[in-house]
């Protein structure tokens, strides 16, 4: 083997990572060539310095911080948010207020109708039209269910703590 070829293979040889058969050929060359032998010695020394340089030890504080951060990353804090809040907090209150006003208006209208007897006639009209009846019931049900949901805050966990 020529010196140039051996020089390119020396790092693998010194690291004991030569391809099969190559290590013997390099070793044979080194026995006869003092220049390449010196190069191998320098490489061995350099690699020893890399291998043997002392490791740094983590401090207790560093480990503690890493553990806490890792746990938090795995299980984020519980975030409380309403079960239904498409418009946000302000929108919830606005919707609730509007619902209360609608109900108040309905009561006022009912009072007015009952005095004039028009309510009976109106209700008779509604009952005789099924579609109008269904729409009326659905509207009342929606308003009735939205009002307590918007008024009562419910927390929904964003994640869950298990085993912590």
């Amino acid at each position: 083997m020529r010196c140039k070829e051996v020089q390119n293979l020396l790092v693998e040889y010194v690291s004991d990572e030569s391809a099969p058969g190559t290590a013997d050929r390099v070793a044979g060359h080194l026995e006869a060539c003092s220049g390449c032998r010196e190069s191998a010695r320098e490489l061995r020394f350099l690699l020893s310095a890399i291998w043997d340089s002392p490791a740094i030890e983590p401090t207790h504080h560093e480990l503690a911080v890493a553990r806490v951060s890792a746990r938090e990353a795995l299980a984020p804090r519980i975030v409380r948010r309403p079960a239904f809040a498409p418009l946000g907090r302000l929108g919830d209150w606005a919707f609730a207020l509007a619902s209360v006003l609608v109900l108040a208006l309905a009561v006022a209208v009912q009072q007015a109708f009952s005095e004039s007897g028009l309510l009976r006639a109106f209700l008779a009209d509604v009952i005789s039209h099924p579609i109008v009846l269904v729409v009326s019931f659905v509207s009342i049900a929606v308003v009735a269910s939205f009002l307590p949901i918007c008024l009562i805050r419910k927390g929904v966990p964003n994640g869950a703590y298990n085993g912590l």
């Binding site: 320098e42 020394f45 002392p54 560093e62 553990r67 746990r71 795995l74 912590l164």
Partner: protein, 188 residues
Amino acid sequence: MAQAQNGNGRAVDVLVSRHYGSILNFAYRLLGNRDSAADVSQKTFTRVFASAKTFKIGKRFKTWMFAIAANLCRDELRSKASKKEASLEEIQEKAGDAFSAGGTAPDTFDEAADRVFSERIWEKVRSLPEKMAIPLILHYRDGLTFTEISEVMKVPVGSAKSWTFHGIRRLRAEFGGEGFLDLKAEGE
């Protein structure tokens, strides 16, 4: 890792305790600064467990972890304005830091000289291109095989191998040119 994915906090603690030192040393060798290395190490584990659900059981946790650490180190290096060669005083200070962290102080002049020389080597390693420095540290310090390094760096195994050995050759050329290796040989 499977237990950690199920939210087991103790499993998280075990994984952090087991691997934090390796990541810290890897980051320290690459960045040359203890505080930056600790910062990168903490971010590594934060990112590891923030994306724990995406880790497929059966894959190598170690290579996944080192891949995240290597990317964070690259980001840290690129955010620095410039890399400059440290003065001899800074090298001596770092040599002192490394050994005070390890708990031992040099007893003899030779030991102190070895430590300064060791830090000088690491300065040279850090001055290598990232694609050589990273596999060199992973292979010769962290004991990763070239297959594992190829997974960390997402390159072919052959590339990981050639960059590692090329890095060592370049180091040798630089040290040989400065006469360090001759001086050390005389001391032996």
